[in-house]
Structures are given as structure tokens and as C-alpha cells.
């Protein structure tokens, strides 16, 4: 119940801020980026953080969602077309995830990373060469349907869906694969099946995120979904803490704010970003949250701990 109230309040406050124009267009774009990054990071966290499968191809799934949704909404420019587009995009990404995941998830560790990277590069090159996707120039004038309400609905649905999945018995099976794949197999868990399930759910959500991206920014091209985009998403997951959903959300917000701030130094923006990345990995390799979750109880406990520490001093 508390959670529902908190969610409702977040939605209402930001909706009011947008309606009263306290959030400028520029900030609104940042807000959209944050929401899309949250969907991407949480879904990649399911694959990488919870199931322990290292994927470097998330941008590929995102691009499938973006292109499918864009092509559908450009033909049927209604709100129903948009909804169909989002789900068709997500479904296409999920099918791709299934086709790629089934053979490659037998591989361990780094090999999967390279195979998924190869997959997303192949997708990008295909989009670059197809006629219907307009090649390197990309698609322009995609009808814009996404607003804060839609974003909030999809973001909450993704986050709640994935966090409930993790708490289910299927989710526990996934976590056991991360902890020790051989032991999990010995306990009778069909490891390949659960790895594929996690991969497909992750791809589905990445497809949704891509569709929302296409519909809000009304312009997509293959180069937007390159290797660097996959790295960006992975950085959010690792910075927030692998296996912490609230960590991913915090990191997505934090990184978006940092990158907005760094916008004023375009020459050294990427250099600072890279240096920060190395520093974080050296000094806090487990990420901001580790595998803990931020909840109302956790904050309360933190407060108690601080109080008791003060008492001791």
C-alpha cells in the first residue's frame, strides 16, 4: 500500500510540474531518457545481474523495438497504432532474443558477451542496408505519442514485472544459475531454459524501451544503437550494482544528471566519463548498491544505524 502511494505521488508531482511548465522541454527530454534508461538497465540487470549472463547486445534488441514501432506508427498514425507498435516491437525483439539466445546461451561468460555483441552488430548492419529502414539516414518524422503518462505506465510495469519475476520460483532459479551453474544443474534446474527465459524477458523490455525512444524523439538511425549504447546500459547496471533493481534506477538517474551537467564541456565529456568509469571500477567494483535493494525499511534501518553511531561517539 505504501508503495502504491509513493508511486502515485511520484507520478502526480512530476505531472503537475510538467503541466505548470516548471520542467522545461530540455529537462523533459532528460526525464524521458532517464525513464528509457531505467527500463533498459532493469531488463539488462535481469540478464546480467540476476542470471549472471554477460550480454553486450542490449542495444540490438532496443533497435528492433524502435524500428518496428516506428514503421507501424508511420503507417497507422493513431494511438492504437502506437500501442500495437510498442507491443509488436517488443515481441519482435523477444523473438530475436529467443533465436539468438537458444544457441549462444550454452556458452559461458565472455563468449556470450562477444556473441551478443556480434549479434547486435549484425542487426545494426542489416538496418543500415535495408530499404525499408532508409539505411544510414534513418527514419524521420515518426509520430510522437509518448508523454510522461505512457512512460510512467511502461516503466512501472517493467520494473514491477521484473522485480516480481525475481521473487518468483522462476526468478530464484535464475539467481541460482548466477551463484553456481553446476550446482543449480545438479539440483534439477533446467539451466538453459531459465537462461533463455531471462534473456527473452530482457529482450522484450529492451524492445519496449526502443519503441518509446523512437516515438518520443521521432528520429532513429542505426548508429544510435551501436556498441557504445550497449556499453552505456551496461555501465548503468554495473554502477548501480549487479543484482539490485533499485541500484539500476538510482544509477540511471545519477548518470543522466551527470551527463546533462557535462553537456557544457563537450570536448572533454567522454574523457571524464571514461575516467570516472575506471575510477568507479577500481574503488567500488560492486557498484553503488551492491546486491542490496533500497526500500522504505532499508532507509529506516540506515537512519537507526546512523543514530546509534552518533550515540557511540
Amino acid at each position: 500500500m505504501k508503495k502504491l502511494i509513493a508511486l502515485g505521488l511520484t507520478y502526480a508531482v512530476i505531472q503537475i510540474l510538467i503541466m505548470t511548465n516548471l520542467i522545461s522541454d530540455y529537462l523533459q527530454a532528460t526525464l524521458v531518457t532517464i525513464c528509457i534508461n531505467i527500463i533498459l538497465a532493469v531488463s539488462l540487470n535481469l540478464i546480467t545481474g540476476f542470471t549472471g549472463q554477460f550480454s553486450l547486445g542490449h542495444a540490438g534488441f532496443m533497435s528492433i523495438g524502435a524500428y518496428v514501432c516506428a514503421l507501424i506508427t508511420m503507417r497507422t498514425s493513431t494511438i492504437y497504432g502506437f500501442i500495437i507498435g510498442v507491443f509488436a516491437g517488443a515481441l519482435a525483439a523477444a523473438i530475436m532474443g529467443f533465436l539468438v539466445g537458444l544457441p549462444t546461451l550454452r556458452l559461458r561468460g565472455d563468449y556470450l558477451a562477444i556473441a551478443s555483441l556480434g549479434m547486435s552488430e549484425i542487426i545494426r548492419i542489416i538496418f543500415l542496408n535495408l530499404e525499408i529502414t532508409n539505411g544510414a539516414a534513418g527514419l524521420n518524422n515518426i509520430p510522437q505519442f509518448v508523454n510522461w503518462t505512457w512512460l510512467f505506465i511502461f516503466m512501472t510495469a517493467t520494473v514491477l514485472g521484473i522485480s516480481n519475476f525475481i521473487k518468483s520460483s522462476h526468478g530464484r532459479a535464475c539467481i541460482s544459475i548466477r551463484e553456481d551453474e553446476i550446482a543449480a544443474e545438479a539440483m534439477g534446474i533446467d539451466t538453459i531454459k531459465y537462461k533463455v527465459i531471462a534473456f527473452v524477458i530482457g529482450a522484450f523490455c529492451a524492445g519496449i524501451a526502443g519503441a518509446l525512444y523512437a516515438s518520443y524523439f521521432y528520429f532513429i538511425k542505426p548508429d544510435l544503437f551501436g556498441f557504445l549504447k550497449s556499453v552505456d546500459i551496461l555501465v548503468i547496471v554495473v554502477l548501480g550494482g549487479m543484482g539490485s533493481i533499485s541500484g539500476s534506477i538510482l544509477a540511471a538517474i545519477l548518470l543522466a544528471l551527470i551527463s546533462t551537467y557535462l553537456q557544457s564541456f563537450p570536448e572533454i565529456r567522454m574523457v571524464l566519463y571514461a575516467a570516472a568509469l575506471i575510477a568507479i571500477m577500481i574503488f567500488r567494483p560492486q557498484g553503488l548498491m551492491g546486491s542490496r535493494e533500497l526500500s522504505l525499511e532499508f532507509i529506516g534501518e540506515l537512519g537507526n544505524r546512523l543514530k546509534s553511531r552518533k550515540g557511540r561517539v
Partner: protein
């Protein structure tokens, strides 16, 4: 037929570059199980060092090559010391992210200092401009020099790895780090040496590419780097002769696809080969299947 042979010649030239880079990937992966994404950018820096030596210091081709190899060796050792050594006991994913971070740092740092503009290597003179005609097949002197330097470096590398004491230490560390340490091998300095050796080869590849293709830019490393890594996986990662075979194979495939198929799809074909080899034989062409133990 002659067209085909010409493509093969071009493929071997390109393959030499991939093979030189793949050696660095495969050695580093063999010794610390890390995909060293920064390797491709060491190659880029090698190309820039060669460019500065030739354009501003007016040095010849060979001195520039040696200087570039030296600078890259130092750079490789520095990268290992600053970025990877503190993470020796961290999870593999955080080391991998660090490698990506170093790669971005080198790329954009270079862009900051030398700007993103494409630069052209100076015109070659003397023997480098000649070429040999055999029927309709043209083999330029540059191609011959490029391939022979690659082969000399590979023989040198084989000698270091197989015949010297430090090479023995490298092989020991890649087999079992803890056991090697117990035998009195300094693991840290062996890893440093491996990074230095791999980076020297990448630097040489950078200068050779600059001379052969003429243009260089700060982002030139990314795509060849990925392909060289694929070459290493193809040959069996961690296996030095495998990286050489893989490099020549990937180079030949790429040139043939560009020549006979659609050149837009040549990168896609290379990645498709990667996925195929990972599905059919993940340990690579020369790799042995190792059973997983608890």
C-alpha cells in the same frame, strides 16, 4: 582466376594486420582471462606515433616503426599497472568494464589532443612505391614489406614464448597462476611483460596500416579490434598459432566478401562467422575441449 588471386593477395595483407592484433588479444586473454578492449586503441596510438615520427621528425619507415612499438609497449605496461592491476581479484565483469573505460579514455583523449580529423600518412618514397606485376596480378612492395615484417615479428614472438625464460614464465602463468607463483615466478612482472609484448605488436600493426591505407583517425581501432578479437576466438583463444591462422582467415574472408558479394555486408559476415564458430566449436579451431570441474 587472376581476379581471385589478386583478392587473395589483398586478403593476406589485411590478414597480417588482424593476425598481429589478434596475437595481443590472445596472449592477454590466455594469461588473465580478459578481453582487453583497450588493445584496439593501443593500435590506434601506434599509428599516430608513426605518423608524428614520419611527418614531424622526418624519420624513415623502420625507425618510426621501432619508435611506435616502443611507445606502445610502455603504454601497454602503464595501462596494465594503472587500470587492471588494482582489479586483479575483482569480478571479471568489472575488469571488462574497466577495459571498455580505458578504451573510451584513449579514444576521446586522443580526439581531444589531435582532433577528430582524418590524417594522411606522408607519401612513401624509394623502394616502397614499386610494385611487381605477375600477369594481371599486382603485388605492391608495400604489401610485401608489410607481410614480411609481420612474419618476422611472429617468428620473433614464437622465439620469445618458446625459447626464453620469460616466455616459459608466460606459459606457466597462463596455465596456472597460483602454481606458477609457488614455483617462484613473479606473476605481476610476467603479466606486465605480456601486455608490453602484445602492445608492441599492436603498435607495429598501427604503423603498417597507416603506411598501407594512408589515413588514420582516433576511432580507427574499434572495428579492426573487434575483428582481430574474432580472429583470436576463431583460432582458439589463448593459442598463439591459432591467432595467426584466425587473422589470415578473417582477412581473406573479408576481402573475398567485399570483392564478390556485397561490400556493405562484409562486417556482418565476419560477425556471423564468429557466432557460427561459437555454436559449433566454442574452443576455436586449435582449441581443446576442457571439461568443466566443480
Amino acid at each position: 582466376m587472376e581476379g581471385f588471386l589478386q583478392q587473395v593477395v589483398n586478403g593476406i595483407t589485411l590478414g597480417s594486420i588482424y593476425a598481429l592484433m589478434a596475437l595481443g588479444y590472445t596472449m592477454v586473454y590466455g594469461i588473465i582471462r580478459l578481453i582487453n578492449f583497450a588493445h584496439a586503441d593501443v593500435y590506434m596510438i601506434g599509428a599516430y606515433v608513426g605518423y608524428f615520427c614520419m611527418t614531424f621528425l622526418n624519420l624513415g619507415f623502420l625507425p618510426s616503426l621501432v619508435i611506435a612499438m616502443f611507445v606502445c609497449t610502455v603504454l601497454g605496461i602503464l595501462i596494465e599497472k594503472i587500470a587492471y592491476r588494482p582489479l586483479r581479484n575483482a569480478t571479471r565483469i568489472s575488469v571488462l568494464i574497466t577495459a571498455i573505460g580505458v578504451s573510451l579514455f584513449l579514444q576521446y583523449g586522443m580526439m581531444f589532443f589531435v582532433s577528430a580529423n582524418v590524417r594522411t600518412y606522408p607519401e612513401m618514397t624509394g623502394i616502397m612505391t614499386k610494385s611487381i606485376n605477375m600477369g594481371n596480378i599486382v603485388i605492391s612492395m608495400q604489401q610485401i614489406i608489410l607481410v614480411s615484417i609481420t612474419i618476422i615479428l611472429m617468428i620473433l614472438l614464437q622465439f620469445i614464448v618458446k625459447k626464453t625464460k620469460i616466455g616459459k614464465a608466460m606459459r606457466a602463468v597462463s596455465m596456472d597462476k597460483d602454481a606458477a607463483e609457488l614455483m617462484g615466478i613473479n606473476v605481476d612482472s610476467t603479466i606486465s611483460f605480456t601486455f608490453g609484448l602484445g602492445s608492441a605488436l599492436a603498435g607495429a600493426a598501427g604503423v603498417l596500416v597507416g603506411v598501407y591505407y594512408n589515413t588514420i583517425n582516433p576511432l580507427m581501432g574499434t572495428v579492426p579490434g573487434l575483428k582481430a578479437f574474432i580472429a583470436a576466438v576463431f583460432g582458439g583463444i589463448g593459442i598463439i598459432p591459432g591467432a595467426m591462422i584466425g587473422g589470415y582467415f578473417i582477412g581473406a574472408v573479408e576481402v573475398l566478401v567485399a570483392g564478390y558479394g556485397n561490400s556493405m555486408y562484409r562486417d556482418a559476415v565476419v560477425f556471423a562467422i564468429l557466432i557460427l564458430i561459437l555454436i559449433v566449436k566454442p574452443s576455436g579451431l586449435l582449441g581443446k575441449n576442457t571439461r568443466e570441474k566443480v
